[in-house]
Amino acid sequence: MFEARRRSLSAVVCALALGVSIVAAHGGRAAACSCVGPRPRFLSPHAANAPLNSHARVEVPNDYAKRTFVLRAHRGAVVPTRVATIAGAELTVVDLAPTSALAPETRYEIAAVDANLHPSTLVIGTFVTGTSSDVVAPLLPSLGTVRTNLNLGPSAGGMCTVRGPWITVAKSVAQDPNRADAELGFYVWKLAPGAAYDARKPPDALVFPFRDAISIGKTSMCDTHEIELSGASVDLVLAAVDEAGNRSPTRRAHVDLTRPTP
């Protein structure tokens, strides 16, 4: 039990500090890698003036998917929502879209509930609404710089690195024309080269930018946001999406997976 608790404490400390702890190699040999397992994460909205039609989005380990996800006013009632999920290899994105406008200037929270657990309720995130809804779609005039990343050197596989490939999309010019502070994410559809895009099909992933770039695929052994990238090439279709679920027109890119982008 002590060991279990110590591991638990250790995991928290790691998550606080780095998210990942790396055990260095001895004598230049192959290195070990230890990762904090997938954890529930609040995706959006974070702003203190979220649109009244905001979707509440969280990302949870797949074994949480059997829980009931609720959007509720803080110290208040559960809000009726439509639930959509995007399931990945280890993580599932849960999107709760309220069926009617949220109350203005009110704190809401998103929680996972399972009456068989104690504690039964896990509050994953919270946000405060502003005073208006957002019905304007974001714009995505350009995808920006699309790069294929491959670790081909002798260090590939060392520490927590993976060979790849993974794709980064940087310097995207996505914007929300009516809200400069909109929290924009990107829906990603992965298609076989030349395959037709079906707008009715749910996306394969929802990713949020970090330092003005998004990553698609597994960037390290500790990255649990896996989207399989195999074969010589892949077609990606992306759309920017705001907190309220408004989507931009899509953009498509053909990506060569056999060599890293210079």
Partner: protein, 388 residues
């Protein structure tokens, strides 16, 4: 922040399991060094004009409504000359967690300051706070007790209200709030318990003693009888039959101890106890006619019936009252601390032990300050109040 706190991981003891201690050894130690003594020595029948509170890495003295918490304690410098915690003049009580502290003000409110990763401030704030934040929904507080990242307030009506980290149900709440939502953490009454007299909080579990003698625990089930009733973890308080009548509850991160029918009993992790392996029921420490017990990070001390102090746990804590090597990782069974006048209360901080005598003299041993030379392996008399 006024306090920089380092979270120290407990190091498990090594070596083969040892049998439970059956003999109380008296360790040959050098007599307590008697340094400068405050000339105002109260009569034994009077209550002390101060209260000693164990801090995270030191200790504080609460006198005349102000908590004085010196960064380093020195035998020749009165504790009450230390800086006043938070500059507050009307403190009625205080407690320390691993990276935060809370005070009870004269009007029965609670204010907390420091780290807030788990919502341990409980005050509707998302960030940590160097200054104190008043918990707006809490009042009529008699006493506050803090564990590593969780606190509970004993209210004037005997009810208990807790807040902070609740991964295992240790606050008694059915809602666990992740750090992204810590702004909504606030105190909640613990259902099903009343007339609370004491509470002790560990990393993932809490226990409270009640006026009728019952002891209830919640959170991670550390005892088989608890686990049998509630499973591995449950926020609902469960009366633990084997702890009926227990008093002087104390906890560190992993271990609980209490006094039960004149004996010190411990449960949870036994890494700091001499007895390891075997059953996971209560571990009994051989302390004659035990009256009180207090735990530090990796050691503990108990008050025996004759006013003697017995310390146990990790030798590397340097706070057992006997000279030991800091490389000695073997836990030690209870051993009498020699050279102390008759003791009334014991307090254990992180790596510090203190005893308050019936004559209101304070003796401490262990890590007194932050320098390597600040370790007192055997008791040193401390000055509490300035000369009057």
């Amino acid at each position: 922040m006024r306090r920089i706190v380092v979270v120290v991981a407990l190091v498990a003891g090594c070596g083969a399991p040892a049998p439970a201690p059956v003999v109380v050894p008296t360790v040959a130690a050098t007599p307590a060094r008697r340094l400068e003594v405050s000339p105002s020595r109260p009569a034994e029948s009077e209550s002390a004009p101060f209260e000693i509170v164990k801090g995270t890495s030191s200790l504080c003295v609460l006198t005349n409504g102000a908590a004085h918490c010196p960064h380093d304690i020195a035998a020749d410098e009165p504790l009450a000359n230390g800086p006043i915690l938070d500059g507050l003049p009307n403190v009625r009580g205080l407690s320390f967690g691993q990276d935060f502290h809370c005070v009870v003000t004269a009007d029965g409110k609670v204010a907390c300051g420091g780290g807030n990763h788990f919502g341990q401030l409980g005050a509707g704030v998302a960030e940590e706070s160097a200054g104190l934040k008043v918990l707006p929904t809490l009042s009529h507080v008699k006493r506050v007790v803090s564990g590593p990242f969780t606190s509970c307030a004993i209210l004037d009506d005997g009810k208990l209200s807790c807040w902070g980290k609740n991964e295992s149900g240790e606050t008694g709440s059915a809602t666990n709030i992740l750090p992204d939502a810590r702004v909504v953490v606030e105190p909640e009454l613990v259902a099903g318990i009343q007339d609370v007299t004491e509470v002790a909080i560990a990393w993932g579990a809490s226990c409270a003693a009640m006026a009728n003698g019952d002891v209830a625990c919640w959170g991670t089930a550390d005892l088989p009888e608890h686990k049998k009733l509630r499973g591995a973890q449950d926020e609902r308080p469960t009366v633990i039959a084997s702890l009926a009548g227990a008093t002087s509850l104390s906890a560190n991160e992993q271990t609980f101890c209490a006094v039960l029918k004149g004996k010190v009993v411990c449960w949870g992790s036994r890494s700091m106890l001499l007895s390891r392996g075997g059953s996971k029921t209560l571990t009994e420490l051989a302390i004659p006619d035990a009256q009180r017990v207090s735990l530090g990070h990796s050691h503990g001390c108990a008050l025996g019936g004759g006013g003697d102090v017995y310390c146990f746990g990790a030798a590397y804590s340097r706070a057992l009252g006997v000279p030991v090597s800091d490389r000695d990782y073997e836990p030690r069974g209870p051993a009498k601390v020699t050279g102390l006048p008759r003791v009334e209360k014991v307090f254990c901080g992180a790596s510090l032990s203190c005893a308050l005598t019936v004559g209101h003299e304070l003796y401490c041993w262990g890590r007194l300050g932050t320098r390597a030379s600040d370790i007192a392996p055997t008791p040193v008399q401390m000055r509490v109040l300035p000369n009057r």
